[in-house]
Structures are given as structure tokens and as C-alpha cells.
């Protein structure tokens, strides 16, 4: 399956990644090659096979709904690129 340049741009935008124009053909070629490779899966009839999402099909366990962690705002926010009044700051979204 061949991926064309515009599709690379579209997928990249969906993933919020910018690919420079001069790199687009290279990505298109590599993605096409990977998709050709995975197309081997089509050779197998899986009509009656249920998808397997989790290798050991145990039911995920739930925790009881009690607070386990302390307030760690300061230590979490020490990793933040920009904070103000204990809030995470981003570029203005409303004029």
C-alpha cells in the first residue's frame, strides 16, 4: 500500500508532528514499505477469530476508591515548563 506525500502530511498533523517538506518523500517511502510488510497479515483468514487485546486474559483488577497518594503538586510542578499561581501555563487560547 503506497502512502502519498499528502497522506504523510495528514497523518503527521493528526499526531501533531511536523515533518519538514524535504523529509516528506522519505517518510512516504518508509511508511509505504512498512505497510507493505504488515500486509502479510492479509494472507490469513481471521474471520472467526476474536481479537486478543491482552496476552493473559485475566480481568483487570480495580482498586478500592480510597486516596493513596499525598498532594504532590509542588514536586510535579517542579517539572513543568511554565507555571504561575500553581497553575500550568500555556500560550493564550482566548483573545
Amino acid at each position: 500500500m503506497a502512502i502519498v506525500d499528502d497522506e504523510v502530511r495528514e497523518i503527521a498533523y493528526l499526531a501533531r508532528i511536523k515533518i519538514d517538506d524535504d523529509e516528506i518523500p522519505g517518510y512516504a517511502q518508509q511508511l509505504s514499505k512498512i505497510l507493505d510488510f504488515v500486509a502479510q497479515m492479509d494472507a490469513v483468514d481471521t474471520t472467526d477469530v476474536e481479537p486478543l487485546a491482552h496476552p493473559v486474559e485475566a480481568v483487570p483488577h480495580n482498586r478500592t476508591d480510597v486516596v493513596l497518594e499525598q498532594d504532590m503538586r509542588e514536586s510535579f510542578q517542579s517539572n513543568a515548563p511554565q507555571i504561575g499561581n500553581s497553575l500550568y501555563l500555556v500560550p493564550k487560547v482566548i483573545e
Binding site: L14, I17, I34, F37, V38, M41, P55, R63
Partner: protein, 485 residues
């Protein structure tokens, strides 16, 4: 002391007998790292001060009579496990400035055992790679031949253990990332059953496949490390509440009469003929110990790599959407608006292989393609698991090569992603099936190590380690040391 033991078991025993202190053995490893790692680049961060503090605390515990079996033993920690107060980069520019505010469950368990953290090891960015060439911190070099790759993604952990600049290391395995670098560096590695080692605080790549485990020189050391690393953890919803066993308790039992299945699909045209010979010699060695080998058929195995790359890339694109430059990690300079900030932070903070996988995953999950790719791959995943479990109903372990070739040269596969993916041809199926597997050193081809892979049924790590230990009791491949180290 002029020469220290270089196994976990040897160090633990000597510490218990007070032949040397944790401070002495820790200082020895820190000095070795300083002397050797400039040639290998296996560590991203060396924790000199913290290691000496931990060693002092371990020695104090021992003097109070409160030491456990692993207290004071140094280890290296893959830089994918969060370590409170220590940078946890995951090999990425995106997390170059990230100081984990909490410990991964595995990190906490190693601390509680009194083990001494030497440093954080280098790895492919976000564990995506088979050669350790995608790290933001530069490639790790193979201590057997510095123009060759150490394998990946846990290349730093494998190279450090091979060069004896750590007695053991943690690692993670999503499609072969413990076993393949262990094989290529001539050390031992265990990928436990999915759900056995907590994923809490282990930075996610593909959540239904990721599994932590140890790398060390011997099977016995893998067992000792697994005793510490494995636990049921309510903070990981896929952690499995299994019976905790002592992974070194059965090592000395004979393997006479154990049934080994040799999948004919593992000896296909992809396999280097010399690696095939070394693997067959190793199987003959196991037969000499009384195991009974028979050829078996695992027909769906050829579809493992295509299914693996769809599932892992889809899960990666979802997991890595969290890196948006808002709360932690890399943020671009002077964003003009929110979208510009997302796009440039991700584009500048992530490397090429990571971007390629995010794009593949985004495509596979996008509207109209989900059934053709992700759902299809999950159906094939069931076929693969069923063919393994049906084979394992008749044999105790499945045996074959870990990697189709010995270590390849740096740059040899970087331009062709598919050829890189094929270096995991014998390992990815095991992750899809969720099974445990071990790789142990089993000879050399052109001076480079060959790995033998043993695959077992769910939670049968102890049986695999027993086979590996018995093999290591009649071979010395695991004792060979590389020129660097």
C-alpha cells in the same frame, strides 16, 4: 581486596560473610564505570553520590543485623524506570529535563531490598529500537566489538553487565528488548510473563506488551533479581496476582526427562547458518543433560513481526500523545499559539524512529483503517498465543535462537526500518503471547556472542531458569569476558 566476585550471587554471599563492605564493592564499580564507560556510553546518568550513600546505609543495616539477601548489592537501572529525584530520560530529548517525582514500583522494591543504584542506563528512545542507535544520548557500543551495536532497546543494561561495570541491571522487553541485547552482548536476560513485574512508573511504549525484567551474567542472578522485581501491584491494573515463588529454589534440580520443543520455523532462511550451528550445539548440550528434544511446528509465527509492529505502533502513538509540552518534558521556545506549542515541542523533542512509529500507529488507528490493521493484528495475536499454548501443552520449553545473527555494525540497518525490525524475528511472538523467555550465552560466531532462547508457559520462569542454570553448569560461555571491561 584485589579482585571482587562479578556475579550477584557471589557479591551477596561475600557481603553476608563480611569479606568486603557494600561501600567497597560500590566504589569498585563506580571506579570501573569511570574507567571504562567512555568507550561504551552504556550509562546516561551515573549516581556517584547517591550510590555511596546507599552503600553506607546498606552497611549500617548489615551491622545492625537487618540485612536481606540482596542488601548492599549494586545494580544499574534502565532509564525507563522512574527514580525519585533522579533524571529519568527514557533516552529522549523529550525527557532530558525530567526528574521523576516518584519511584516506579520496581525502583521502590530495589530500594527496599537495600540494593545500591549505580546509575541509569542508556537505551533506544522510548525503548523503540533494536540497536540502541535511536538514543538522544548517542549509541551504546558493543563491548565485544565497538564498531558493532549492543542490540536494543536495553543496550546500555546489556553492555554494562557484559563489561562488568554493573553486576546486574534492570531492563524492559516489548518485542525482544531484554533478550536480543543480552544475546548480542553475551549475557543472560529474562523477560517474565506479562503481568509479573509491575509497569507502574515504567515509562510506557506499548502497554499490552511492555514487561520489565533483569539482565545479569548468570541464570542464578536472573532468579535473584526476579525475586526482587516481581510483585503483585494494585497500582498496575494488568499486574497479575500470582503465587510468589523463589526463583532460585529449583535451579539445582536435574533437567533429565524435560521435553524441549524445537520450532522448525526458528531455523528458517533468516537464520545465519553459523548461529544455527551454535544453537544446535547448545540443544545437543541440553540433550546431554537428559532433556528430550523434538521438532515442533508453530505455523503462525511468521506473522508475529507484522502483527507486532501494528500493535506496538498503535499503542505507542496513543501512549506518546501525553508528550505535549504542557506539564513536563520538553517545550519549544516562543510558541505562537497552543497548537504551535504542541507541534513544535513534539517535533523537536522526539527522534526520527519514534516519530515514524507514532505515524504508523496513528495511521493504523485512524478512521477506516482500524479493522484492517489494529483489529486484524489482534486477531493474529490470538492465533499466535494459541499456537504457543498448544505447543507448550506437549513440551516443557520451546528452544531456539534469540536473534537471527550476531551483533551487526552501527549504521548497517538504520536506513531500512523493516530490516531492523526483522532482527526481532524470534522474540516478538513471545511478547504477543505474553509468555516468559530467557536468553543465555551459547557460543560465538566470528568472535561475537550467540544467544540461546528458552520460552516457557505462563509463570514458569523458574523452570526456564533451571534449564538455563543447568546449561551454564556445563558450559562457560557466560563466563567469557569481552575485551572492554
Amino acid at each position: 581486596m584485589s579482585s571482587y566476585p562479578d556475579t550477584v550471587a557471589g557479591i551477596a554471599t561475600a557481603l553476608a560473610k563480611r569479606e568486603f563492605s557494600s561501600k567497597e564493592i560500590t566504589s569498585h564499580y563506580l571506579a570501573q564505570i569511570a574507567a571504562v564507560d567512555g568507550q561504551l556510553n552504556s550509562y546516561i546518568t551515573v549516581c556517584n553520590e547517591r550510590a555511596l550513600e546507599d552503600a553506607k546505609a546498606a552497611d549500617e543495616l548489615r551491622s545492625r543485623g537487618e540485612a536481606g539477601p540482596m542488601t548492599g548489592v549494586p545494580y544499574a537501572h534502565k532509564d525507563i524506570f522512574c527514580t525519585k529525584g533522579i533524571r529519568t530520560s527514557c533516552g529522549s530529548r523529550m525527557l532530558d529535563n525530567f526528574v521523576a517525582p516518584y519511584d516506579a514500583t520496581v525502583s521502590g522494591r530495589l530500594n527496599e531490598a537495600g540494593m545500591v543504584l549505580l546509575g541509569k542506563t542508556n537505551m533506544d528512545e522510548f525503548a523503540m529500537g533494536s540497536s540502541n542507535e535511536s538514543s538522544y544520548y548517542g549509541p551504546v557500543l558493543n563491548p565485544w566489538k565497538t564498531s558493532a551495536v549492543p542490540g536494543g532497546s536495553s543496550g546500555g543494561s546489556a553492555a554494562a553487565v557484559a563489561a562488568r561495570i554493573a553486576p546486574c541491571a534492570t531492563a524492559t522487553d516489548t518485542g525482544g528488548s531484554i533478550r536480543q541485547p543480552a544475546a548480542l552482548c553475551g549475557v543472560s536476560g529474562l523477560k517474565p510473563t506479562y503481568g509479573k513485574v509491575s509497569r507502574y512508573g515504567m515509562i510506557a511504549f506499548a502497554s499490552s506488551l511492555d514487561q520489565g525484567g533483569p539482565i545479569a551474567t548468570t541464570a542464578e542472578d536472573l532468579g535473584l533479581m526476579t525475586n526482587v522485581m516481581a510483585s503483585f501491584d494494585r497500582k498496575d491494573s494488568t499486574s497479575i496476582d500470582h503465587t510468589i515463588v523463589d526463583h532460585v529454589g529449583e535451579l539445582s534440580a536435574s533437567i533429565k526427562g524435560l521435553r524441549l520443543g524445537i520450532p522448525k520455523q526458528f531455523f528458517d532462511s533468516a537464520l545465519d547458518p553459523d548461529v544455527a550451528t551454535a544453537t544446535r550445539d547448545a540443544i545437543a548440550e541440553l540433550e546431554g543433560l537428559g532433556a528430550v528434544a523434538t521438532e515442533i511446528d508453530i505455523p503462525s509465527i511468521g506473522l508475529a513481526i507484522p502483527a507486532y509492529y501494528v500493535i506496538s505502533s498503535a499503542e505507542c502513538s496513543s501512549n506518546l500523545s501525553r508528550y505535549d509540552g504542557v506539564r513536563f518534558g520538553y517545550r519549544c521556545d516562543d510558541p505562537i499559539d497552543l497548537e504551535d506549542m504542541y507541534i513544535r515541542s513534539r517535533s523537536e523533542g522526539l527522534g526520527n524512529e519514534t516519530k515514524r512509529r507514532i505515524l504508523i500507529g496513528t495511521y493504523a488507528l485512524s478512521s477506516g483503517y482500524y479493522d484492517a490493521y489494529y483489529a486484524k493484528a489482534q486477531r493474529i495475536r490470538r492465533l499466535i498465543r494459541e499456537s504457543f499454548t498448544s505447543a507448550l501443552a506437549d513440551v516443557d520449553a520451546i528452544v531456539g535462537p534469540t536473534s537471527p545473527s550476531v551483533a551487526f555494525d552501527l549504521g548497517e540497518k538504520t536506513s531500512d526500518p523493516v530490516s531492523m525490525y526483522l532482527s526481532d524475528i524470534y522474540t516478538t511472538a513471545v511478547n504477543l503471547a505474553g509468555l516468559p523467555a530467557v536468553s543465555v550465552p551459547a557460543g560465538f560466531v566470528k568472535g561475537l556472542p550467540v544467544g540461546l532462547q528458552l520460552i516457557g508457559n505462563d509463570f514458569e520462569e523458574s523452570k526456564l531458569l533451571r534449564i538455563a542454570h543447568q546449561y551454564q553448569s556445563v558450559t562457560d560461555w557466560h563466563k567469557r569476558k569481552p575485551p572492554i571491561g
